[in-house]
């Protein structure tokens, strides 16, 4: 069975971390899995974890009264789910549901926050990587905001 550390080496998010840094991160992590349709977290719940999907896919959803759950992003293997653990109030903004059976590494946010406080270099390394994820997700979302496929009709 592979150790978390070995698995982490293959995750694009942690690309470039030193062995020591990977060990520190791995120390806050463990393996987990979800069956198809299972909930990873719900909007409003306490957010103290993040997931790196190794297999399967996760749907991020928001429940809209009158419309039901609306999927606004799917996250596939190799990608990270969740950054609400980084900043107070540490509450999930969305629902997350396993679209297909999911195997993931899950990390204790409080544990990692502590290690980042203690080792600012690790803190910077992780922050900049998460910032990159956020930037890509934001850009992708902004493009979808343009609603390019839906053009106005003519009289």
């Amino acid at each position: 069975m592979e150790t978390i550390e070995t698995l982490l080496r293959d995750v694009p998010l942690f690309d470039g971390l030193t062995s020591e840094e990977l060990e520190l991160v791995a120390g806050c992590g463990t393996n987990t899995h979800f069956g198809e349709g299972e909930t990873l977290f719900r909007q409003g719940d306490e957010a103290n974890t993040f997931y790196v999907v190794r297999h399967g896919s996760v749907a991020l959803e928001l429940f809209v009264p009158g419309r039901g759950p609306v999927m606004i992003e799917t996250i596939e293997s190799g990608d990270v789910v969740g950054w609400s653990w980084l900043f107070p109030p540490y509450r999930w903004y969305f629902d997350a549901r396993a679209l297909a059976a999911v195997r993931a590494s899950v990390f204790d946010g409080a544990c990692l926050r502590g290690k980042c406080e203690a080792d600012p270099r690790l803190g910077y390394a992780l922050m900049s990587r998460f910032a990159q994820v956020m930037m890509e997700r934001l850009n992708s979302t902004r493009i979808r905001l343009l609603d390019v496929y839906g053009y106005a009709t003519v009289d």
């Binding site: 053009y151 106005a152 009709t153 003519v154």
Partner: protein, 392 residues
Amino acid sequence: MNDRRMGVSSHPSRMPDAQTCVIEPQALETLVRALADRGFRVLGPTVRDGAIVYDELESAADLPIGWTDEQAPGRYRLTRRDDEARFGFAVGPHSWKQFLFPARIRLWRAARKNGSIEVTEPTRDDAPLAFIGVRSCELHGIAVQDRVLLEGRFVDADYAARRKDAFIVAVNCFEPGGTCFCVSMGTGPKAESGYDLALTEIMGGEHRLLVEVGSERGADLARELPSREATESDVQAASAAVAGAAERMGRELDATDLHGLLARNLEHERWDEVANRCLTCGNCTMVCPTCFCTSVEDVTDLAGENAEHVRLWDSCYSVDHSYIHGGSIRPSGRSRYRQWLTHKFGTWHDQFGESGCIGCGRCITWCPVGIDVTEELTAIRATEKEVDDGDD
């Protein structure tokens, strides 16, 4: 200078001097009559509504005898000459395109019949056109439209039909206009080819016109005019008149590589500057002899059984010229002015292998706010030079 092409298939190059002759102004009446007798619809300049326009000529008396024009940016006035010159003026708001490329034509008719659509094209049997008074710049303008409408992959059948038998009596300018710049564009003032007959009016001494023949048809018609042989001094007087016009051009433009200049300056601040003045009224596109943008409209009868597909002049200055998918590509006046100018002087080269401007100056005269294309282009070029110097 600029290498302008004049290839018009029905008009071979100039005939030898042996066919050059001289006529009195009164002989123009015979010319008009002879053309009418041959079945042509005779069109030429005449005074109407305070301008010299192109319209039907019933006789040579309809010509603007003794009239001249004063033109400047946004200004056009007719004033009386102190002689009886028949062609003592430059060009007015009309161009010959209104006859060769009319503002509104029916392209085809469709009828709903037996669950099908039956389409019929119009019979093209209008009387052939005869133009009297076509300036050299206008000959180039016609050639430019020939290039667009006849020499691409598809031929415009309506234009081809009107153009085919058109009889052209050119006139060499001796009185250039205040906004003319044909010399800069290499399009005049002397008509080189593309005509059946070319007239040069000589005012000094005996008032007469030198007649040069440009085709068999032209020679044929010239033989019917009361004339005498041209002498050396006639030819020289005609040359001098035209040379004099070349020296008194109202405007000048450095036309060197305007294509490159405009391609390099699509974001020049001059566009913002001119946008503050341009009303996007589209006058320039209406009076320009080479503008060819059209739109189509469909009209049905009340029962909806018969429909007409009609072609109309359009202008790139209209907001919906570039409309697609719920919005216009060029919503701002700035982008529409830029489109017109860069097309006329720049991308026309990419699309049709030559400049779209013939230097007639109409766009300058008929712009309500007096925007002068020669000034705009000069300003863009001048600022570019500054940038280059700055690199030293």
